[in-house]
């Protein structure tokens, strides 16, 4: 018979490690042309997935959807994606975004609107003044 061995807590340091991995707001670039069926009124920026950032993963997702009379996206689906890790934040961003409502006499177009999200990581200068670690962050994901 064996006893319970005392627990090794090497994983304790996980929190220090995770805490150092920041989740700063991404820099956003927005492109549109004059061929769009509907005009965005509120565009939600997706979060850069923590794991993707940690593992230096970049990618692209194209989400297509219809927009109802009131400007709310529906029938949202991923048309193409380079990595599934980006799909959820892209879909969520589209779902929470809105477009200008149509006038009462205007009809909803049957054409789908598509929005492409590119998730990129830009190198920045290391901050030599700061010792990494020990900054608490939400550790989900």
């Amino acid at each position: 018979m064996n006893d319970i061995a005392p627990r090794a807590i090497g994983v304790l340091l996980l929190f220090i490690a995770a805490g150092s991995i920041g989740q700063e707001k991404p820099r956003v670039l927005y492109f549109q042309d004059d061929k769009a069926e509907r005009t965005p009124s509120h565009t939600v920026i997706p979060a850069y997935p923590r794991r993707a950032r940690r593992e230096r993963i970049e990618g692209e997702v194209q989400v297509c959807f219809k927009v109802d009379h009131f400007g709310k996206p529906y029938r949202i689906g991923v048309r193409r994606s380079s990595n599934r890790i980006f799909e959820k934040p892209a879909i969520h961003a589209v779902r929470e975004s809105t477009y200008l409502p149509l006038a009462p006499d205007q009809k909803v177009s049957g054409i789908k609107t598509c929005r492409t999200f590119r998730f990129l990581l830009e190198p920045v200068e290391p901050d030599d003044s700061e010792t990494p670690g020990l900054s608490g962050q939400d550790l989900s994901n």
Partner: protein, 174 residues
């Protein structure tokens, strides 16, 4: 220290989940009759609950009464973790080194020592420990996080998101 104290609940919440899993795996094929080294066990519990000083005190007592190689290595690894949280890096490093002198395949000690090295900005040594740790435990989430910590220290990046609503093919203007 004040900063740390405020964050301990976050640390401990996830740690408890991880430890629950670790313990479950450890005792899966064993008949349980009780802890071999109560001080060591209570020391680990204290560390888990965020009482780092008490955890270290109990673990040091447990270390004196260690009953085997595994207990000793666990104690030293836990001391390494505790002292690191207290930012007593030299002391922490001493205990991690002691573990690794006895068992150079103790991936948790490699994980812990890599964090110390990153905090000391000894990046090459940190990378070596992470590489070796990942050879031993390729699926370790903690080691992945430590590697990310190292990358953030040596090659930091800033996230950019491009939202493109254009219907016509984009020019090369990005």
């Amino acid at each position: 220290m004040k900063k740390l104290t405020n964050r301990r609940p976050i640390y401990c919440g996830i740690l408890c989940l991880l430890l629950a899993f670790t313990t479950a795996v450890a005792i899966e094929n064993k008949t349980v009759i009780g802890p071999t080294n109560p001080d060591l066990q209570e020391g680990a519990n204290a560390l888990l609950s965020g009482d780092i000083e008490e955890g270290i005190r109990l673990t040091l007592i447990g270390l004196k009464m260690e009953t085997g190689t595994r207990d000793r290595q666990t104690a030293m690894s836990n001391l390494c973790a505790g002292y690191t949280i207290l930012n007593k890096l030299e002391e922490a490093l001493r205990y991690c080194n002691l573990v690794l002198e006895e068992n150079d395949e103790h991936w948790r000690a490699l994980n812990n020592r890599a964090i110390i090295y990153v905090k000391q900005r000894r990046f090459a040594e940190a990378e070596k420990d992470i590489d070796k740790g990942q050879e031993l435990a390729p699926n370790s989430r903690t080691l992945k996080l430590v590697r990310a910590m190292l990358l953030d220290a040596t090659n930091p990046v800033s996230p950019n998101i491009i939202i493109d609503d254009r219907r016509s093919p984009p020019d090369n203007d990005e």
